[in-house]
């Protein structure tokens, strides 16, 4: 059994350790906040759409049930 296991799992040749410390890169990736960055980077176009929708709802309240109907 020992021999079979040794054949199935050959020893790792060479140095198995990476040549640099990977933990700082991992920490940087964990600390990154992609959603916050995405929200902060909202295009002016999206804000214009929000303003247009708000204006439509304000000037034409009849649009509210119609828009709700389609959501």
């Amino acid at each position: 059994m020992k021999k079979l296991l040794q054949q199935a799992l050959p020893p790792v040749k060479g140095d198995a350790e990476p040549d640099r410390d990977l933990w700082p890169a991992m920490l940087e990736r964990l600390n990154a906040q992609p959603d916050a960055v995405a929200l902060a980077g909202c295009a002016w176009f999206d804000w214009a759409l929000v303003a247009g929708l708000a204006a439509l709802v304000a000037f034409f309240p009849a649009s509210i049930p119609v828009l709700l109907y389609y959501l």
């Binding site: 759409l49 247009g52 049930p65």
Partner: protein
Amino acid sequence: MNTHPYLRAFLAGIFVPALVLPLILTVFIVLRLVLHVPFPIERGIIFPMALVPSLFGLWNMLWLASHGRTHLPIGVHGAVLPIFGAPIGATVASCLGILAVGAHGVTWFQACEVPYALIGVFFLAALAGYYLVWKYIVGFLNRVLGIA
């Protein structure tokens, strides 16, 4: 988390309609059962309750299936949905009697008159709303669920 991606896409898609539906039901209860509005507004719940969530879920599944080839942003993909959903919703509403076509415009729920000149504006508003909802809410959920 690489299992059942289409199931997760469907669930992410129906999230927004599932949030809006209780709001619609609340409006229905207040208008129909509390204020005793004579119009049968419950007919207007059929489309948002039965079809819209499924449309959203299936549309998100379609985005997942086609994104590898089309590379279409999810906001743009969502903004295309009203092109198919609006005629379906109008047909259902017309058949159920909650949308009446008149000489100068259409009347929703026997109360909301929309002139023909404004229908295009409403449609553009629907495109904009869908674009924002899909870009920021469905897209966020897709990232959370690991399918984007």
